[in-house]
């Protein structure tokens, strides 16, 4: 198997892009990635997207976006709800690793602000089990809220501890030019914001936004011809669990996250403590806490306590979501996993501007689809 590297990244600001169509957002991010990589020829296109078929009626996204990008190469559309971007990245990497393609573009794009919130909520609820969760009135947020309540009950963790996560993310996002929510908040504001699904309040939840991100990947051999700073794909894994919360053996561990990360760590020959910077899938505060634990940064049941005790504060052992995460960078669903890869790449290159984590060498991206049903973990490593 060939070694693979990321040689170019591009992102649009996450937000309400009323003036831009899905195709415009995608092409904008993809052209930036092309320019960043020195405009190589690509052999294939991989696109992560969740709701375009339902929301804007456009299916066949591979060909559609290849057309607007002006590249008539093999093009694939990958959908696994909110982890579509992370899954597209893994498939793109496999395409290059295998030797079938040499250079590919992996992009993610989502357009969520075209319709009223309730309609978008309905589209996004497709990530859950339609016939036996959504049918009975469960929202996607309420499934996460149920996990959070169970967690608080089982580990006796106060609700306030969870509110520290959004505060940290909003702080981080003030330094990210691509972030949707670039303002600070406080624990009091998080706790007193409107309740969405008790115990989750508005400020525990990632916002709805449009966005696109793209990365170009090629062999390490090719990468060495154009740069001295190689951002190598050191490991990756994907885990799958039951689509429905009712079928989980355990509510406070996302088995898919454990399985995906174990695989990625083993492949990269590293341990959780070796990670310098991580972008984790904090769609809701509780998901951040579960990620911290399931990825091996904190012990089970200790994630929120470690957060409260300052383990993940600035100058800690590991920098979590310097971008602001889903919470404040934003969560353009099918694009989120690709944003994470782009952000980690910038960190390892030392090009992350105000977000830069000093001398980051190993970075990890964790992308969750559904309430833990599809999870990808990718590990990137800088080599000079």
């Amino acid at each position: 198997m060939r070694e693979v590297a990321v040689i170019g990244v591009g992102m649009t600001k996450v937000g309400q892009h009323f003036d831009k169509a899905l195709r415009d957002l995608f092409v904008d991010a993809a052209l930036k990635a092309f320019d960043d990589a020195g405009n190589p020829n690509i052999d294939a296109l991989y696109v992560g997207n969740m709701v375009a078929g339902e929301a804007i009626g456009q299916s066949n996204l591979g060909a559609y976006l290849a057309d607007y990008l002006g590249v008539k190469v093999p093009a694939f559309h990958i959908e696994s709800a909110c982890s579509s971007g992370g899954a597209a990245f893994i498939l793109g990497v496999l395409g290059v690793m295998s030797g079938y393609f040499d250079t590919v573009l992996v992009g993610g794009v989502e357009k969520l602000t075209e319709y009223p919130t309730q309609t978008t909520t309905l589209h996004l609820a497709g990530a859950a089990e339609q016939e036996y969760e959504v049918y009975f009135g469960a929202s996607f947020t309420s499934l996460n809220a149920m996990i959070m309540r169970y967690y608080m009950h089982k580990f006796n963790v106060p609700r306030e501890y969870f509110a520290e996560w959004p505060v940290m993310m909003h702080e981080n996002a003030t330094k990210n030019p691509y972030a949707q929510l670039r303002f600070k908040t406080t624990i009091e504001k998080v706790l007193s914001s409107p309740i969405i699904a008790d115990p989750l309040t508005l400020f525990d939840c990632s916002p709805t936004g449009d966005g696109a991100a793209a990365v170009i990947i090629t062999t390490v051999e090719n990468a060495k011809k154009i740069t001295d700073t190689i951002v190598k794909v050191a490991g990756f894994g994907m885990g799958v669990d039951s689509i429905s919360l009712a079928m989980r053996n355990e509510l406070t561990t996302l088995a898919a996250s454990v399985n995906a990360s174990r695989k990625a760590y083993k492949m990269a020959k590293i341990e959780p403590k070796d990670v310098d910077v991580a972008e984790i899938h904090d769609a809701f505060s509780i998901m951040a806490i579960l990620a911290i634990e399931d990825l091996g940064f904190s012990e089970k049941g200790k994630g929120a306590i470690d957060l409260h005790d300052g383990k993940y504060a600035k100058d800690g052992d590991i920098a979590l979501n310097p971008s602001g995460g889903l919470k404040a960078r934003g969560h353009p669903v099918g694009a989120t996993g690709v944003y994470q890869i782009a952000e980690i790449t910038l960190q390892l290159r030392g090009d992350a501007g105000e977000m830069q984590v000093p001398d980051a060498e190993i970075g990890l991206a964790q992308n969750i689809g559904g309430s833990g049903s599809s999870i990808t973990v990718s590990i990137l490593k800088r080599e000079r």
Binding site: T121, L122, Y132, I196, D198, L200, L245, A246, M247, L251
Partner: protein, 136 residues
């Protein structure tokens, strides 16, 4: 919603029918061809018990389309007495009465309507059992 899509789920949603794995003994709703716990294809059609307990719950203030009339309402993950787990609404109780571990029973209720002219959707919801005859 299409009529067959609604009709074929009736046994599971109205009567709590499902499957029990003849190899590992675990039960689930709806029926499925392969046991999600042990992979066996040896699945018997069974009817679930109508009583169980609340594993966890949430109160929804922002709700999906079609649930406006009921909001705010409670949704729970309920473990039935044979171990099968389902997600549905809790009804006939005040929010502050709801506790993790609370005993509940399934009742047949209207879930929502598919617009003005569409299907009226029915299924199970759960309510507390206030007079609990036997202790579990």
């Amino acid at each position: 919603m299409s009529v067959p899509k609604y009709w074929r789920e009736i046994p599971y949603r109205f009567r709590l029918e499902g499957g029990t794995c003849k190899d590992c003994g675990k039960s689930f709703i709806p029926y499925r061809y392969v046991c999600p716990y042990c992979g066996s294809r040896n699945i018997e059609r069974t009817t679930m018990p109508r009583t169980g307990k609340v594993v966890t719950y949430s109160i929804l203030y922002v709700f999906p389309k079609g649930f406006k009339k009921q909001a705010p309402y409670a949704v729970a993950l309920v473990e039935l007495d044979n171990g099968a787990r389902v997600v549905s609404q809790l009804t006939d109780c005040d929010f502050d009465e709801i506790k993790i571990g609370m005993r509940v029973e399934a009742i047949f209720r209207r879930i929502t309507e598919d617009g003005k002219d569409g299907i009226i959707k029915y299924g199970y919801k759960f309510r507390p059992i206030f007079q609990n005859k036997e202790k579990h």
